[in-house]
Every structure is written in C-alpha cells, then in structure tokens.
Amino acid sequence: MVSLNTTNQNSLLIRIKIKISRLLLQPSFIIGLILVIILTYLVIAPIISIFSNSVSLTMMDAMLSGGKDGAFTYKYIDRVFTSSISEKIFWTPLKNSITVSFFATLIALALGLILASLVTSTNIFGRRYLGFLLIIPYMLPSQAMATAWLTMFKNRKISGPPGMLESFGFTPPDWLAYGPLPISICMALSYFPFAFLLFSSALSKIDIQLEEVASTLGAKTKTIWTKIILPLLIPTTMSVLLLTVARTLGTFATPYILGTPAKYTLLSTSLYSSVRSNESGVVAVLAIVLSLIGVMLLLVDIWVVRKWQRFITVGGKGIKRQPSKLGLFRTPTTIFAWLIFLLAALGPFVVLALSTLMREPGNFSFSNFGLAYWTGVNVPGMDQPGMFTSPEVLTALKNSFLIAGSASIICGVLGLLIGYAVVRLPGTLISGFLRQISFLPYLMPGLAFAAAYLSLFAVARGPIPALYGSISLLILVMVVTYLPYASRSGISAMMQVGPEPEEAGMVLGAGFWRRIVSILAPLQKSALVIAIILPFITGMKELSLVVMLVTPGTELLTTQSIRFLDFGYTQLANATILIIGVVVMISVLILNRVTKTNLASGLGG
C-alpha cells in the first residue's frame, strides 16, 4: 500500500519532470518564457507606474507641501476632472481633440480613398510614381508639416516676421494661420498616406471576377463601385478610421506649433504642458484617459473586423484589374492627385528648404538667397556654424542613427522571436499573453510612456543599473514603443511558415541555431527587413517619446531641431528636419528595393 503510493508519487514526479524537460528541449517554449519575463518588466511595469502615479503624491508636491512622497491621494484625479481648472486642462482640450480628430480623419479618409481608387483602378497620368510619391508625407517628421504651414500662412496679427504669403501681399486671416483648421488639415495631410496604403492594398485584393460578373450582367462602373467595391471596403474603412483617430489624438508637434499661438489646446498639448510644469500626477491621469480612449478604439476595431469578416472575399490570384479609362476626367483627376502630392509632400519640403536658403525670411529678392545656413559662412545674426560644419548636428546625426538603428534591429529580432513563440505555441497562455502584451505600448501616448520610463529607470533597480543619461535608455524606450509594429509583422510572417521545414531540418539533425540561420532566417528575410525599417523610420522621426529623456551628449536630430528653435535658429531647425526627411526617404527606398513590397504590408490593416 505504502510502497504503491510512493511509486505513484514517483511516477507523477517523473512525468512532470519529463514534461518539463521536453518543454525545455523545445526552444519556442524557452524563448516564449524569456520573452514573457522581459516584456512583463518592460511593458507592464511602466503601465503600473503610470496608474500608481495618478494616485500618489509626487515627490515635488511632497517637498512643497510637506506630505509624504508617494502617499495615496485623489488630488490629481480631482484636479483633472473636477477642480476649478479642470475646464482648462481637461474638458476644453478633450472637446478640441475630438473636433480636430473628427475633421482630420474625415479629410484623410476621403483623400486616401479617392487617391487609392485613382491610383489602383484608373489610368490617370503617372500612377506608377504616385504610388510612392503619395506616401512621402508619412516620411516627414510631424513637425515638418506644421512648421511649413506656419512659414507659409503665418500672419502678423500675432506679430513677428511675416509669413511667405504675407510678404507677397496677401495676409492670411487668423483662422487660416492658427487653430483648429490648420491643425486638422496638417494632420490630415500627414496621415492620409495610411488611408491611401490600406485602401490601395484592399482594392488590389478585391476579386476582379466580382466586377467582371457585374459588368457582364450590364452594370455600369458607377453601380459596380457603389454596390460591390465600396461595401467590400467597409472593414478597411473602419480600420483606417480608428488608426487615424488614434494617431491624431496622440500627435503632439502639430497642435503644439499651430495651436499654441491661438491657445487652442488639445489633450496631447495639455499633457505636454503638465510634463513641462512637472505635474507628474496630472500627467499620469491624462495619460490614462488617452490610453483608455485607445483601448476603446481598439475594441471597436476588433468588433468591426469580426462583424464584417464574412465580407472578406478570397479571390483568384494573378489577374490584375484593368485600369478603367477615365476619358474626359483623366486630366482633372490627374491634376487633383498631383496637387495633393504637391501640397502634402513637395510643399513642406520646398517651403522648409527655401527657408534655409533665404538669409532674411520673407525677402524673395535674388541676392537674399544663399547657402549661408548650410556652410556657416557669413551667416546673418548667428554665431553658430552651419549645418555642414556644426559638431552638434554631427553628434545628433550619429546618435539618431545609433539609437534608432539599434532600437529597430533589436525590435525587429524581438518581433520575429515573438512571432516564433506565438505561432509555435498555439493555444498556450504564453502565446496569448505575448500577443496582447506586445501590442499594449501602441495604446500609450509616447510622452506618458517616456515619463514612466524616466521614473522607473532613473535609479538602479535590481540587475538593471540607472539608465538615465545613457543612450541605452533611449534605445530601450524605443524598442518597447515600436514593438507593436515589429511583433505584428513578425506574427503574420511566422504564420505563413508551417512547422514542416523546421521539422525536416530537425530530422536531418540540425540544431536550433542551425534551423534559425539556415531555414527560418532566409524565409523571413523580407519580414525582418520590414520589422526593422518601420521602427527605424519612426525612430528617426520620433520627438515626443525622447524629448524628456535626452541629456547633453545624447541629443537626437529631432531634439536638436528643437534646441535650435530654442536658440532662435529657425533655419537650422528646418534644415535638421529636412535631413531627417531625406534619411527616412532613402530608408523607404531601400525597403522597397529589398522587399519588393510597399509600406502597406508593414502597417497592416
């Protein structure tokens, strides 16, 4: 009896042992487990710290009021929602954010849909080039559009030097220069490439036979569009809608530049003011509100995708839609499409470039043009080397490449590893957890995330030394923030590779690393490139995430452009933005060349 019991116990123990050792033999399990531990720390910890910051007395307030640092308090929640200044720091900004997001999304959606239809399904002139040219606005840092707008439309009601239009004799009215209208337009022009890309890829996936059947049955082009194509685009439309709304809510540079002079505050700028005035409790509360809006949008997205799934058609491949002939409309539609390109992509570039070439703003005489701000020779009113000779620009360029580069490589590899673990451990807790947690940072506003990182990693914690002031902190925060892009593309790429090739390798005696290097890596080359280049592009343009974390010596191009603005060197700031734009554009060209795909596959609908 007794001995039997022991054997039972023993066999149970042995079985568990066998199970564990089997799991341990399975690399996907070990990788999954390690990833769970790392991500829990890097993603969950900052989120918890934001929540706890919202209800604990900050160090500053404790010092000023004599309370205890970290004591529980409703003070900040009260301050944001019910105090005498809640109207100013929360309710009005909320209202403004909703207004701006609504109009920006509407314009972006319409532009994206119209342009995608024109480029994918009609014979407008230059459609091959437009496919690339129309996504250029996405490659410019978000302050580019706003700065260019201001350079152009600035009026002197607010005073200072004239805008370009004003120096030509036309004074733009206030509503055109500052506030909700320009913010909505600039955001729409910055974000319509998302809509354009997603609609383009959706349109090219629609089964051509549906249209052929309809037209055989005598349906007119108009009927085909309204009864077949547009309804099929509804899920994409919802995705675009939610993506754009989420983006516009989180954008900080545009409302900061165009809203501040008119005191038009959005939630993101209110958050920034609170950051700048060291109110970390208020920052936490506002960040939570913004994230909750993000979560809500995500839930709606999931619901819509599920509801409309049945409308997604899988069609025969290989047949490309014949571009429909536009006839009389060919010229006007071509003009429209190229006009949007001019306004959204070329416009900001030209305006910013012009501003760096003019010695005195607003003076269009020939003698006023020159390369002074670039070469640093004979620069008017500036004791500062030019772009080509400035050590600061060089350092910032180096840092940007180093930080965005390492972050994106780490991010890409992590993304694939997450994909590997998620796909190879289907139905396990680890898989579900990794999938969800790697997407969480997408919902947090960058500023809030940065604030959390600052408070978490300023001190040494456990094995991790104090990272404040080091570039590792900047790399770390970028890796975590861009993980959603990388893990999404990693998961979807791994989905497409069955376990068979790997099993074959195993049979032939290939070890884990050998399988990775010789089987998986070649198969996933293009996915890896996308998972690296997308975070790289975003990292090169990043401002809000890093603006609080840089210290002397770790400046990035984006923060250096802000420092130049602080010193009043507008031209140098604009030149820095231009450099970022060019670097990003070259990266995208490389992406196109290497993967023979466009950005759409990475942004994923």
Binding site: M59, M63, L64, G160, P552
Partner: protein, 370 residues
C-alpha cells in the same frame, strides 16, 4: 605605556582633526590647486538658463583651461525636474547649474542638501552678503519692451494697467507661467507691492481701482490673463515678435533686457518701456554645484570663472545683465549702470512668499486665462 597611549591619543586627535577639516581644507585650495584639480577632471556639465554658456563661455573656458564645458540651455522647470531626479537617483550628470527658480532653491534644494552653495573664495569679498547665500551670479532685468520703429521714442502705454485694456487684447507677449517660474515670481512680487499698482491705476485713470480679488496685484494678474496675452516658451521668440520691423500694430512684450543687444544683429527695433509703476522684474540667477557632481573641482573653477570679468563678459559685456560681483563693470548700453540704480522700478520677488503662493498663483492664472 602611558606615554605610548598619550602619543597615540594625540595622533588620533590630530588625525580626526584633519578628517574634520578636510572639507575646509579643500575650500581653502589656492586657485592654482583648484585649476590643477579641475584639469584632472577634464570636463564639466552645466544646465544653464542662458544659451551664452554654451555659445560663448564654453569656448573661452576651454581655450583658457583646457576643460570642456558641456552646456545645455534649459527652462527652470525642466532643470528642477532633472536636478531632483539626478540627485535622488544617485546618478548625477550635471555639475553646475545657472538656475532661476530661487523659491524652489530656498525652500527645497538647499534645505534638502541637493545643491552645494560654493562662493569662490577668490572673489568672495566683492560679492554682497545678500547675494551669497545662496549665491546669485547674475541679475537680469526682464523688461516691458516695445517696437521703436512702430511707436517712435515713447512707449505706447504709460501704465501697466493699459495692458488689460481691450486695445491691447492679444497684443501682450509673455512667457508661459506654467513653464517659466519668472512669471510666477513676478505675480508674487506684484502681490507684495499691490499698493503701488493700485496707486498707478488711480493716477492713470483718475479713479479708484475696483478690487474684486484679494489684492490689487491679483486683480492685475486676473485682468491680464483675461486679456488674452500670447504665451511663449522662449524669450527669443517674444523679442522677435515685438521687435521685428515693418509692423503696423506691433505688440508689447516682457523679455530679458539682454535681447536689446541683438537689435543691430537681427534687425530688430526693441526699446525699453518707461512704464508706471514697474518696468519689469529683476531676475536673480543662482549658481549652485549639484550634490554628488562628477566634476566638482571643474564646477568650482567654472563658477569662479563666470564671476570674473572675462567669464562674465558674455552677459555683462553687453546690455541686459549685472554681475553680482560688484567689482565688475557693466555695459554702457544699459539704461542704468547698476542693478541698484533701477531703484524700485523693477520688481524683485521674495523667495518665501513665492514658495507659499506659487501653486495658488499658477491655478489662479490658468483659471482666468482664456
């Protein structure tokens, strides 16, 4: 035996004494010793209120001593955040700060030992007592200024109260009080000198001021906030907004007097407003070594350097600032030769009053601005 004991007692007494005296001894380093110690450290990091630390002083200091100065210009709210964060985390990056937030320094940083007040002994005799604890290195007037091309030789307003009139709605340019503590310091000083504000109102309008708030200072702040002033993060932007030539309705602004030095270089037309009762604020900038600084000797040497004529010149050699070192001259372009000669026309805040009132003043401002 006893002799041995006595000897060892005496030795240990002296040993202890030297230990005790250690800091004093290091304070009493000769300048040459300090230079040598600083050069051993090789570099020094600063957060500074003014870009001239990075643009001018850094190069001159490096040329003279071979010590590299890494200077970052920073608003005081960010500086506060960074100092506190660095000191509490033990990961101190900055050595020396040029810091405008006197109230926070007096009520938090100094009492908590987060900064070290170092008055360079080589210039100590020329620094007045009221500027040495904590050490003020520079007095910078922030003045009300106007555009002399648009309005000619006299300021378009005579009394500060005109800034609250409809005519000047949206046409007064100032720093964002949420970011620059100077504005809160100014509001607090206005509370302190409410009577003069009320008197100025009566003098200008010929009737008594109707005070609906606790005092005339607050009344002014409220009316100013409601009159839609334009807010900036940067002093430079205010100066450009006010001083750019070719404006028909140029605004009025408050900015640092030092901007007047750029009139020629940047083609601006800035001029001082002789307005009643205050022409602006006299902002003291404090210089402190941060506790646990990685290059303390280089920081001390730099602190000394900016209190010498050569090191102070980027500020005091041009219009707009006065060194606390009374032996140094100031630029002849200044409207007044010394900080004292402005008499009472510049507001000077009381650090304790500001510290007590700042949260309320800030909320008061946010509540009333539109």
């Amino acid at each position: 035996m006893t002799r041995k004991k006595i000897i060892s007692l005496i030795t240990s007494f002296f040993f202890g004494l030297t230990l005790l005296l250690q800091p004093v001894v290091s304070f009493a380093m000769t300048l040459d010793e300090l230079i040598a110690a600083a050069q051993k450290e090789g570099e020094v990091n600063t957060y500074w209120h003014s870009s001239r630390m990075g643009k001018k002083v850094a190069a001159a200091f490096e040329a003279k001593y071979g010590i590299k100065v890494n200077a970052t210009k920073m608003k005081d709210s960010e500086m506060t955040e960074r100092i506190v964060r660095e000191v509490t985390s033990g990961n101190v990056i900055v050595d020396l700060v040029g810091y405008d937030d006197g109230p926070f320094l007096d009520t938090v940083l100094t009492p908590k030992g987060m900064v070290e007040n170092y008055v360079p002994p080589y210039v100590a005799k020329d620094i007045p007592a009221d500027s040495s604890k904590p050490l003020i290195y520079l007095w910078q007037p922030f003045v009300i200024g106007y555009n002399s091309e648009t309005y000619g030789n006299s300021c378009p307003i005579k009394s500060l109260w005109q800034l609250t009139e409809k005519d000047w709605a949206g046409r007064f340019h100032m720093w964002d009080p949420r970011i620059a503590s100077s504005m809160i310091q100014m509001f607090s000083a206005m509370e302190d000198r409410s009577d003069e504000l009320a008197a100025s109102y009566k003098k200008h309008y010929g009737k008594d001021l109707k005070v609906t708030e606790a005092n005339a200072g607050l009344e002014f702040v409220k009316r100013l906030a409601k009159n839609n002033p334009v807010l900036y993060n940067e002093d430079y932007e205010i100066a450009v907004a006010v001083g750019t030539k070719g404006q028909s309705k140029a605004p009025i602004g408050i900015y640092s007097l030092g901007r007047h030095r750029e009139n020629a270089k940047k083609n601006l037309a800035l001029a001082l407003c002789e307005v009643d009762p205050f022409k602006g604020l006299n902002q003291p900038t404090y210089m402190q070594i941060v506790k646990g600084s990685p290059h303390p000797n280089a920081a001390r040497l730099l602190a000394y350097y900016v209190l010498t004529q050569e090191g102070a010149n980027p500020w005091v050699g041009v219009v707009g600032a006065y060194s606390s070192n009374s032996s140094l001259g100031s630029s002849p372009d200044n409207p007044y030769p010394t900080a004292e000669s402005w008499k009472g026309t510049l507001l000077v805040s009381n650090n304790t009053n500001v510290a007590n009132r700042r949260a309320d003043l800030m909320d008061f401002w946010i509540k009333h601005s539109n």
